[in-house]
């Protein structure tokens, strides 16, 4: 029976020759993760169930990244709970501040999540690892607890939607713009309970950092996973990092899809998602002059080295506009160090931007850059729901790093070529 890449990975992990959409299956989990917000509930559930040991201390990661460095006493208590559980269970992968990074940037970087894996995380952006050719999806804390106990999880096999991207990208148009366009077209529930499969010549040439950005936002269309067929770019990224063996899967040519979208990206401009939905997408060139007070460049969506380089290209020799706060948050310690080595921090500091230690921080309105009533931010993050970055009367506009940096310089939302 012809299968998609998602179906093949699920079948393999269910020890079945084949699976088909809507089938309920139990699969082996290669890696499971939780953070300082979701893991405390998982640990409580784990204990309540009377569990003693995690299924494999090398395959459960606890990453305190959301409200860290601990923003208040309650957050410190949550992280303490993770730390003590990690010690008790001898977890190999617990990350203190100083070693910690934003989870979905950290785990691929460290070679802990790999092509062909089934990965579950108590964080909705776990779908990021689909970029590596893994079946990776976000779950709640109780599902994480069950997986920590058994090394297994039940799934309904999703049907797949294929996205084919053709043409030649214009300058400053990248993975972020393509995924925003996609969500804008199909809507925030356009791929609800589906596997999104990103294909076509544009994806074939897309660097891994931008593939990760695309898969990261699959959840913003309601998807279970946003998967990309592994290739030479994947191999190049994974080799030298991988801590375990891995396997490449690909869809059969005659695999069946619930829907196929075929788009030419040649005319795309950089995209912006307007408040208060990641599906409210317009080309930046069609926007009126929208004044902003804050810019955030970072997050699991766009906090990788390539994103910081894009921002630096714009900020070099320029200044952040008066009345604008520009926050730059490298997603991991390694990215931080490399950015420093490359001289990016000097560019940022000369531009009068602030550079932060890795944290999810302002992306979810946690800390390190909360908006007041009436304030507007351009952010390279993934959600712009009401109150997402602070006050319920604040606004978040989502964009790529170059648009965000250009907007910081202009004081309003602008195309990178216009500064």
């Amino acid at each position: 029976m012809p299968m998609t890449i998602s179906e093949k990975i699920l079948a393999k992990h269910a020890d079945k020759p084949a699976v088909q959409p809507d089938e309920l299956i139990e699969v082996r989990v290669d890696f499971a993760l939780g953070n300082d917000i979701t893991a405390p509930l998982a640990i409580e559930a784990f204990r309540r169930a009377g569990a003693k040991r995690v299924f494999d201390p090398d395959r459960v990661a606890l990453i305190p990244d959301h409200f860290t460095p601990n923003k208040d006493i309650a957050s410190a208590m949550q992280v303490k709970m993770l730390r003590e559980f990690a010690r008790e269970q001898n977890l190999t992968h617990f990350y203190e501040v100083g070693r910690m990074g934003v989870e979905h940037a950290l785990l691929p970087e460290q070679g802990l999540v790999l092509p062909g894996d089934v990965i579950i995380g108590a964080d909705s952006h776990t779908c990021t690892y689909g970029a590596l050719g893994a079946f990776a999806t976000g779950v709640g804390s109780t599902d994480l607890a069950a997986a920590m106990m058994t090394g297994k999880i039940w799934f309904k096999v999703p049907s797949s939607i294929k996205f084919i991207y053709r043409g030649k990208r214009r300058p400053w148009v990248g993975g972020k713009d393509i995924i925003l366009y996609t969500i804008g077209r199909i809507g925030v529930d356009g791929a609800r309970y589906r596997a999104m499969e990103f294909t076509g010549e544009v994806i074939d040439a897309l660097p891994m950092s931008e593939r990760l950005t695309m898969s990261n936002m699959a959840i913003e269309a309601g998807a279970k996973v946003g998967i990309i067929t592994p290739d030479a770019i994947t191999e190049e990224y994974v080799k030298g990092r991988a801590k375990r063996p891995y396997q490449f899967y690909q869809s059969d040519p005659d695999a069946s899809y619930e829907a196929v979208y075929d788009w030419d990206v040649s005319t795309f401009e950089p995209m912006v998602a307007l408040p208060h939905s990641p599906g409210n997408v317009r080309p930046v060139t069609e926007l009126p002059e929208i004044a902003i007070q804050q810019v955030v460049i970072g997050s699991c969506t766009n906090g990788r080295l390539e994103d910081l380089r894009d921002a630096a290209k714009i900020l070099k020799g320029r200044k952040v506009a008066p009345g604008v706060r520009c926050l730059i948050i490298p997603a991991t310690q390694l990215i931080y160090k490399q950015a420093m080595k490359e001289g990016l921090f000097e560019i940022f500091l000369d531009a009068e931007a602030a550079v932060s230690t890795p944290t999810c921080g302002p992306c979810l309105g946690g800390h390190m850059g909360i908006l007041a009533a009436g304030e507007r931010a351009v952010a390279t993050t993934n959600r712009n729901f009401v109150g997402r970055m602070g006050h319920p009367e604040s606004e978040v506009y989502l964009s790529n790093p170059a648009v965000a940096a250009a907007s910081a310089v202009a004081g309003h939302i602008i195309h990178p070529d216009s500064v």
Binding site: L24, I37, T142, G390
Partner: protein, 168 residues
């Protein structure tokens, strides 16, 4: 199992940040979370909602983050059931795992208005709107999910499974 309460109506794409804003996620205490339930959508909701009340919403209820604090906040606020046109995937799992009954019923989601007296028969999947003298049939809960509910949620189910494996 029958549930009865007053309906509170919300629109499409109610996200988890609206259900419980992330700024309150430095705790998982149901009472503390319940005090802020739905506050960015309706600041007065935590004060207005009464035990047994029912949330009615449009499509894609619970989209966004995977925070289990969302069903915990809703349950903690005393809400007995959520009826929606459709649910986001992770919220759907979380609600079952937490023992918060949810029903997919586009007809009820459209017809019910805030203030309506609504009765839900979970076993039959039937929703009665006493204020409008209407009855709606909800989508049946899949057999596997019923098994989870019968076990008393996911953790209880897993415990049973592990006990069985231990025997064999």
């Amino acid at each position: 199992m029958k549930l009865k309460g007053k309906a509170w109506k919300f629109g499409d794409d109610v996200d988890t940040d609206a259900i419980i804003p992330a700024r309150y996620l430095n705790t998982s205490d149901p009472r503390l979370l319940a005090a802020h339930c739905m506050e960015d959508a309706d600041p007065e909701f935590p004060n207005k909602v009464k035990k047994g009340d029912i949330i009615v919403a449009g499509k894609n209820f619970g989209c966004g983050s995977s925070r289990e604090h969302a069903p915990i906040a809703i349950k903690g606020a005393g809400v007995s059931c959520v009826i929606a046109d459709s649910f986001a995937r992770i919220f759907y799992r979380n609600a079952f795992n937490m023992g918060l009954p949810i029903l997919e019923c586009p007809e009820a989601a459209t017809a019910i208005e805030t203030g309506d007296e609504v009765e839900v028969d979970l076993d039959e999947g039937i929703i009665r709107n006493h204020s409008r003298q209407q009855t709606y049939r909800a989508q049946a809960v899949p057999p596997f999910m019923q098994k989870l509910v019968q076990s008393g949620g996911l953790m209880a189910y897993v415990k049973e499974q592990m006990a069985q494996e231990g025997k064999s």
